[in-house]
């Protein structure tokens, strides 16, 4: 058994690292790397044979890293092919430039794209088109951008690969792609519809005259969906590979393929069929990957030293025995903290702990997993810094509309929208906890 002092040291490193990660002025990847290095080095002083430097260093979860790398490559190349630009312009044209319709159509597009891509890529694509379209249609972009920003969080729940917390929790709690989709789809649809109902009350558009309607149709028709596509062959191939990868994700369990393999297969196929050079295809966010790797080593150290077990026991002793009440508490705590702290960091730290707590308490771990996933994704929308999509949306809105959106303004929106979303999610988590994932 590892000495208690060692656990304190490891916890100290863990807390210090998390403080550095939270500090915006410090590079979070460097913080995770420092934490990982210190965690491995501590092995020199820990005499427990189970805690070997080699084990800790090689404990990073390849499954999660491979999924993230694979998806990033797929997103990078399919974005370059103009596929999502094409889709977005098609949707814009479908709206005929009518503001109410545009808000709904772009909202649905946001949910789907953040489900297939990730929240950042989705906000970049849909957000940038929104600004351009609003400028041409002489509309205020604020309602649209705010609507999209909060819907990226909803879309982040959609599939197992929509967001990193989903991948982490899914991998930890062994949730398959289809199983994830079956639970996430109903709540995502409910949250989307609820959001549209809120937006309908919040944002009112005066009905356009016949002349305005015609002018707007004319203006949206000036967008050429093929204009962003440089090579139609690559476009079609990217679409096929993306669709193929999604289908393989669905059948991965049946075909006994790991999700990591499907993601890497998709990425390799994408590079092969697009004719993209490997060095170009791999221009992905390596800092993010390094951040995950550091984080996983840090958590592995705690796990190997038995610290997570100790913490899990501590939590188990203090948490309620009731699965339903605990899952709801986890949902809200996770949501509130995700608004302040990076939800990836929280998911990475809490997943292994809560899995052990579930086992200790004889709960159904899936109920806890869903509380974690939904809380982590929706909570990102609570504050302007809760998710990168919020930062992108707000900074561009301020830059283009010259209107300062402070924390107070943001919280007015988020308290209402995320508040209602969380109430709906609470009911949903309660229902699945009682009827599907019974202890």
């Amino acid at each position: 058994m590892v000495l208690n002092n060692d656990i304190y040291i490891l916890f100290g490193i863990f807390i210090l690292t998390y403080i550095l990660i939270i500090r915006k002025s410090f590079d979070k990847t460097l913080a995770a790397a420092i934490g990982a290095v210190l965690t491995v080095l501590v092995g020199i002083f820990i005499r427990d044979p189970k805690y070997r430097m080699h084990d800790v260093l090689h404990y990073h979860d390849f499954e999660i890293l491979a999924i993230v790398i694979g998806i990033l490559v797929i997103v990078e190349i399919s974005t370059k092919s103009g596929l999502f630009h094409y889709l977005s312009i098609k949707v814009l044209k479908l709206s005929k430039g009518d503001p109410a319709r545009l808000l709904v159509y772009f909202g649905i597009l946001t949910v789907i794209l953040s489900g297939v891509l990730n929240n950042i890529a989705c906000m970049l694509i849909v957000g940038s088109l929104t600004f351009i379209a609003c400028e041409r249609l002489d509309l205020d972009p604020k309602p649209f951008i705010i609507a999209e920003m909060f819907l990226t969080a909803v879309g982040g729940n959609l599939t197992l690969v929509s967001s990193v917390p989903n991948v982490i929790v899914g991998s930890q709690f062994e949730i398959s792609f289809v199983e994830f989709l079956l639970i996430s789809l109903p709540i995502s649809i409910m949250l989307t519809l609820a959001s549209f109902a809120i937006y309908r009350v919040m944002f009112r558009f005066s009905p356009p005259t016949e002349e305005e309607k015609e002018q707007r149709i004319e203006k949206v028709n000036e967008f050429d969906e093929w204009g962003a596509v440089d090579d139609k062959a690559i476009f079609y191939k990217s679409a096929a590979v993306l669709a193929g990868t999604m289908i393989l994700f669905v059948f991965a369990e049946t075909l006994e393929m790991s999700l990591a393999f499907v993601a890497i297969l998709g990425a390799v196929s994408m590079v092969f069929f697009s004719g993209e050079k490997m060095e170009e295809a791999l221009k992905i966010d390596w800092a993010l990957i390094a951040f995950f790797a550091g984080l996983f080593v840090l958590i592995a150290g705690l796990n190997k030293a038995g610290a997570l077990k100790e913490f899990a026991n501590l939590l188990a002793d203090n948490l309620l025995d009731d699965q339903l009440a605990s899952s709801l508490i986890i949902l809200w705590v996770m949501a509130i903290f995700s608004g302040i702290v990076d939800n990836i960091v929280l998911a990475a730290a809490l997943s292994p702990v809560l899995l052990q707590v579930s086992e200790a308490k004889d709960w159904n771990p899936k109920a806890i997993a869903w509380a974690l996933v939904l809380g982590a994704n929706l909570g990102g929308g609570l504050t302007p810094i809760g998710a990168p999509a919020n930062v992108i949306a707000i900074s561009n809105l301020e830059k283009r509309s010259k209107e300062k959106i402070g924390w107070g303004d943001f919280l007015k929106f988020s308290a209402l929208i995320i508040g209602i979303q969380l109430i709906i999610t609470t009911v949903y988590v309660a229902l699945i906890s009682v009827f599907i994932f019974t202890p």
């Binding site: 940038s128 000036e222 050429d224 962003a228 561009n396």
Partner: protein
């Protein structure tokens, strides 16, 4: 910061997809024309042109002979007064060396110049002068086209007739004082009669709406079966300005290729959009050319055998006092120019 850059990149990519589409539902008809003549040799062409267009469109045309009495009369009075005074001096000089008798040397003038000036100015004020009357005609008659001879249109220092101390030309004053945007066909040369082709000049800075307006006016005057060349000129000044916006000029050896290609693409989109919507009664040709506007214009006029140049004034580069491109278009080429104002 990285996300901000990506946002800008994606935005630019979307902006690239916006292709101006022109909806030219109806070219419209020319129902009323004013053809002004000033007695110069160019007036004859104005007359012929007015007659030809009137017959083609079966219009109601007003042919106006402009005589600028007011200003000319003042000039005459003061010039003759000056001549008489000079003559008086000559007489004094001749008599000076031969004294011995009493000589009185006086000037007798039927009309005191000061009083004449007052009278003329009052008359001008009342009528508005030739220019004022022409402006009134344009406002009342609401023509779809005004044909003006260049000598009159470009006469400067004419502002006094309408009570303005203006450095501009007669055309500038007319434009400033008329409430509607009317195309003005400025006649300098003689070649329209023999040449039927039309040269439409565009600039990548132009928006779809201004292209549409320019084109509609060009098509109104184009004969069926004639060649209409849509010329997009990418002037080096524009490339440099555009490159400046892109930040390319900060390099040691400026590379303007990005700006050049961007402008070329924009111009091609614009012309492509025009071609899609244009009526097939004319033979449409497209050309995008890099180079100084005046040089490209000169070369293309010769190349296309154009008998009419059409452009929107503000999109053919101007320097503060005059424009080389205007100079070429209006004077050197000897081709009538239809100038369109928004």
């Amino acid at each position: 910061m990285a996300e901000e850059n990506r946002f800008e990149t994606i935005s630019k990519r979307f902006e690239k997809t916006v292709k101006p589409k022109l909806v030219i539902d109806k070219i419209g008809e020319i129902k009323r024309i004013i053809a002004a003549m000033d007695g110069t040799s160019k007036s004859q062409i104005c007359l012929e042109l007015g007659k030809r267009l009137s017959q083609r469109y079966k219009t109601h045309t007003k042919f106006l002979r402009i005589k600028r009495y007011g200003a000319h009369l003042l000039d005459y009075i003061y010039t003759t007064k000056l001549a008489a005074e000079r003559n008086l001096e000559e007489i004094r000089d001749k008599l000076a060396p031969e004294p011995g008798f009493k000589a009185e040397i006086n000037l007798i003038s039927g009309v005191p110049p000061e009083k004449a000036q007052d009278l003329i100015e009052a008359a001008l004020k009342e009528s508005g002068g030739a220019l004022g009357l022409l402006i009134k005609e344009i406002e009342d008659f609401r023509p779809d086209l005004v044909i003006l001879p260049v000598p009159f249109a470009e006469e400067s220092e004419i502002g006094e007739e309408v009570g303005e101390d203006s450095l501009g030309t007669a055309l500038d004053l007319i434009l400033r004082r008329t409430s509607r945007s009317i195309p003005f066909l400025l006649v300098e040369g003689e070649s329209l009669v023999s040449r039927r082709n039309v040269l439409c000049v565009f600039n990548p800075e132009q928006q779809a709406e201004s292209v549409k307006i320019t084109l509609i006016h060009a098509l109104k005057l184009a004969d069926a079966g004639s060649d209409v060349t849509l010329l997009g000129i990418i002037d080096p000044i524009l490339v440099e300005t555009f490159a400046g916006v892109l930040g390319e000029v900060s390099k040691e050896e400026p590379d303007f290729s990005k700006a050049k290609n961007g402008l070329k693409l924009r111009m091609e989109h614009l012309l492509e959009a025009i071609q899609l919507k244009i009526e097939k009664k004319v033979n449409l040709k497209r050309k995008v050319a890099f180079g100084r506007t005046d040089e490209v214009l000169k070369a293309t006029i010769a190349e296309t055998d154009a008998g009419l140049i059409v452009y929107q004034s503000k999109y053919v580069p101007h320097d503060p006092l005059d424009s080389m491109a205007d100079e070429i278009a209006r004077h050197e080429s000897q081709v009538p120019v239809l100038i369109v104002w928004e």
